[in-house]
């Protein structure tokens, strides 16, 4: 019972930053701007949020400033990638390498091994316990006791779905990605749309980083995003950049990660191999889905994606 609660709680815990990065990344993805820089943007969010919380002494001001910082990063990416028509993948990698180096350089410059803001932020108080629900077994640990940004991330799945499919902006993002010529021919400013798509991604990645660092641990350590940006990219691809489907992949990953960690307790000496589970899980689910799809279609061969 306790174990099950823990598994569910940790599932939400590990899913939230991924969902944010997925939701942010899929705008750019839909607009046909492959953003490999999600990892760097997330790291920037984690780093700058803790840094600014330390400097300002206020959690939400820190998070806000970190969103701004990451937006600047998004602007850099957009400027190079969209205005200057660079190779997105290189630019994204540049962003990743740059942020990683910048954060560790700054730490060195500040003579710190990590940024610890636990004296400013009390993470226990940031958990929102929902009355009544928190006392229901199982459901309680699924729905209650998470942080604000975690809740926001799940609410955003719905919001992003609406924006993507019901509003002009969402339609334009998809149009620009699918057929930029078509967008231009009806006078849609495709550059502006692409910028907006990348910037939304940057902002949400900042939140993901802040969620990971400040909100959960009041702590930044070097390279603490540890590849989550790439997992998010994988989830976006798996879900065909659809908000709900891609988020489900993020949750699947979160669940697998949670299972791997919680069950490792009972795994004996092979617990090390449990770390593979989340990654294999993604591959297997994707394989199953693709195999079913490819069986259905009678059209042969590959199309340019």
């Amino acid at each position: 019972m306790n174990l099950l609660s823990n598994i569910l709680y940790d599932m939400i815990y590990h899913s939230a930053p991924l969902i944010l990065a997925v939701l942010g990344g899929l705008f750019a993805h839909k607009a046909n701007v492959l953003n490999i820089g999600l990892e760097g943007m997330m790291l920037m969010g984690a780093f700058s949020s803790t840094l600014f919380v330390m400097l300002t002494g206020n959690l939400w001001i820190g998070v806000l400033l970190s969103v701004l910082c990451t937006l600047i990063l998004g602007l850099i990416f957009s400027f190079f990638g969209i205005t200057m028509k660079s190779n997105f993948i290189i630019t994204g990698f540049g962003i990743n390498i740059f942020v990683l180096a910048l954060s560790s350089f700054m730490l060195k410059y500040l003579q710190m091994a990590n940024i610890n803001v636990s004296s400013i932020v009390n993470v226990t108080n940031l958990k929102i316990n929902i009355p009544f629900i928190k006392d229901i077994p199982i459901v309680g640990s699924l729905l209650s006791g998470h942080t604000l940004i975690t809740y926001i991330s799940f609410i955003l799945i719905l919001v992003v779905s609406i924006v993507m499919y019901k509003t002009k902006f969402g339609v334009y993002v998809r149009v620009v990605g699918e057929n930029e010529e078509a967008a231009k021919s009806v006078g849609i400013n495709s550059t502006a749309i692409k910028y907006a798509a990348v910037l939304i991604g940057a902002a949400l990645c900042a939140l993901a980083g802040a969620n990971l660092a400040v909100e959960r641990m009041a702590l930044f350590t070097n390279n603490m995003t540890a590849g989550r940006g790439f997992i998010a990219i994988a989830a976006i691809y798996c879900g065909g950049a659809k908000p709900v489907k891609s988020s489900i992949y993020a949750v699947i990953f979160g669940l697998a990660k949670s299972l791997a960690i919680n069950l490792a307790l009972f795994a004996g000496p092979v617990s090390g191999l449990f770390e593979i589970v989340p990654y294999l899980m993604i591959v297997i689910v994707l394989f199953a889905v693709s195999a079913v799809e490819s069986r259905r279609t009678k059209i042969r061969g590959f199309k340019l994606e």
């Binding site: 002009k168 149009v175 059209i299």
Partner: protein, 515 residues
């Protein structure tokens, strides 16, 4: 005052001059037809009118004012609209979303009585209603709800047209709007043109079909190699004269086919009970059976979207058949992949030129050898022989009169007609035993049509078997020895080419059985 006036308008691509000192005045309220060979520079000119290309020189005036468009948005704001030759549609969106793209209708949120404001949410119901009404007004065969990805090319063309008509513009540019429409639809469209003209709109129409020019236009402008070479009032000219101005020589507008009886010849290609389904599980080919003999052209007629595309896909190995069989000289080739079909001697001219027939971003010679690059003449020990490939492509370019600006340029720089000739040259010259030819002259100028038709007949006279699929009924009737008609995935009738009666075929195409 003219609606549009071009003064010495010039467009250069590097050293290549696509438009040179063009002077055209489009009279308000008239229909002006612009004709010319493939690659003459018509589209380029229109793109400058519509702000998609920047002129390299000269002046452009709209409603008497000099303009300099930075994007098509500027042109739209000046009251221009354009239907593009290569569709500018979004495949994953519905028909109505495509038509209303850029002018979406938003939901009103009513807060008690009079107070209401626009929400950011799109009102899809309202959008659909609006578009369905538009479709009904123009009597187009179209469903507002369909996803554009899944509709036929003809339907896509109709969406493009509606997209512009909806915008209520004053000057309408149509770049080959009829290339993929059925004859009935063309007639409908021409009626709409006249209607629009009555409403005071100015129309520029680019087409390769002289019938249309003569029927609706007030004025014809002929462009050749980037220059205006002639301009006539339509009333005072004839198809023969226009064709001559375009091509620079007399053009035989109707092919001249020797009748031949293939009844006694050997069967080359035999299709039996062929079936397949689309992604939604719908049967799109239903028990298709036919034979083709040596020296015979079998024409497949039908309205777009009745299974012809799928038939060609299955026969060319790009789609799986769920049932039935295909034999080539008694050899079972059912569900073989394209590579095996080719090596067994089947040449294929696919329907979608730029998807399956050509690679736009490769050079002309790379495209000319595609699929035949394995030949020992061109490839030894896995290495390609540059010199031989150049020789082969030079000779094909020469033999098939492919007009190229730059020898090592990419196919993307070629006009549609010349691009089509690359496929024709490649497939026809590989000495196939059997040819599958789909929409061979779509969007191709009359000179090239004549050329391609003659080549097809030449192959027939060399005793090849040919399957010809085309939405152009006149093409089918002109070339085929035998015609089968498809409707809803089935063959609904067969007629001999000799005594084909277009009325009767037309009825069969519409689903009215022959008997």
């Amino acid at each position: 005052m003219y609606a549009i006036e071009a003064v010495n308008l010039t467009k250069k691509y590097g050293d290549f001059v696509a438009n040179e000192d063009i002077n055209i005045s489009i009279v308000k309220g008239e229909i002006t037809a612009i004709v010319g060979e493939n690659g003459a520079g018509k589209t380029t000119l229109m793109n400058m009118f519509f702000g998609l290309q920047k002129p390299s020189g000269g002046e452009l005036r709209v409603q008497g004012k000099e303009v300099s468009f930075n994007s098509s948005l500027d042109a739209i704001n000046c009251g221009l609209g354009m239907v593009h030759q290569h569709f500018k549609l979004v495949p994953s969106l519905t028909v109505f979303e495509n038509i209303l793209l850029g002018t979406e209708i938003k939901k009103d949120i009513k807060i008690s009585g009079k107070l209401s404001f626009k929400s950011p949410i799109i009102d899809r119901k309202q959008e659909k209603k609006t578009v369905q009404k538009l479709i009904d007004d123009y009597k187009f065969e179209l469903n507002a709800d369909d996803i554009v990805e899944n509709i036929s090319i003809g339907a896509k063309q109709r969406v493009e047209i509606l997209k512009m008509l909806y915008r209520n513009v004053d000057i309408l540019i149509f770049d080959e709007p009829t290339a993929v429409l059925t004859p009935q639809e063309v007639d409908e469209l021409l009626v709409s043109f006249k209607e629009l003209k009555k409403q005071g709109k100015t129309i520029i129409l680019i087409t390769h079909k002289l019938r249309e020019v003569l029927e609706v236009s007030d004025k014809v402008v002929v462009i050749k190699r980037g220059r205006v070479v002639g301009s006539r009032a339509t009333k005072e000219t004839s198809a023969a004269e226009i064709a001559k101005m375009m091509v620079g020589r007399e053009v035989i507008l109707n092919v001249n086919k020797k009748e031949k009886d293939a009844c006694q010849n050997k069967v080359v290609y035999c299709v039996k009970n062929l079936c397949t389904e689309n992604n939604f599980g719908k049967k799109v080919l239903d028990n298709i059976s036919f034979e083709i003999k040596e020296g015979e052209i079998l024409g497949v007629a039908g309205v777009e979207g009745n299974g012809q595309s799928e038939l060609v896909r299955v026969l060319s190995g790009l789609m799986e058949a769920t049932g039935g069989s295909v034999h080539l000289y008694n050899r079972d080739i059912t569900n073989k992949w394209p590579a095996e079909l080719r090596s067994s001697g089947i040449g294929i001219v696919p329907e979608d030129r730029y998807a399956q027939g050509l690679c736009k971003d490769m050079t002309i010679s790379d495209n000319l050898i595609a699929g035949y690059h394995n030949n020992e003449k061109l490839c030894r020990h896995g290495l390609l022989l540059k010199k031989e490939i150049e020789d082969v492509s030079d000779s094909l370019i020469e033999k098939y009169d492919i007009r190229i600006a730059e020898r090592n340029g990419n196919v993307s720089q070629l006009s549609g007609g010349n691009a089509q000739k690359i496929i024709v040259a490649r497939e026809f010259d590989s000495n196939p035993r059997m040819l599958i030819v789909s929409q061979p002259t779509r969007g191709v100028d009359i000179g090239s049509i004549e050329f391609i038709h003659n080549k097809i007949l030449e192959l027939r006279d060399e005793n090849k078997a040919i399957l010809l699929v085309s939405s152009e009924l006149s093409e089918i009737m002109n070339l085929s020895d035998r015609i089968i008609v498809m409707y809803k995935g089935k063959i609904v009738g067969e007629v001999q080419g000799r005594n084909a009666d277009s009325e009767k075929i037309g009825l069969m195409m519409a689903g009215v059985s022959a008997e």
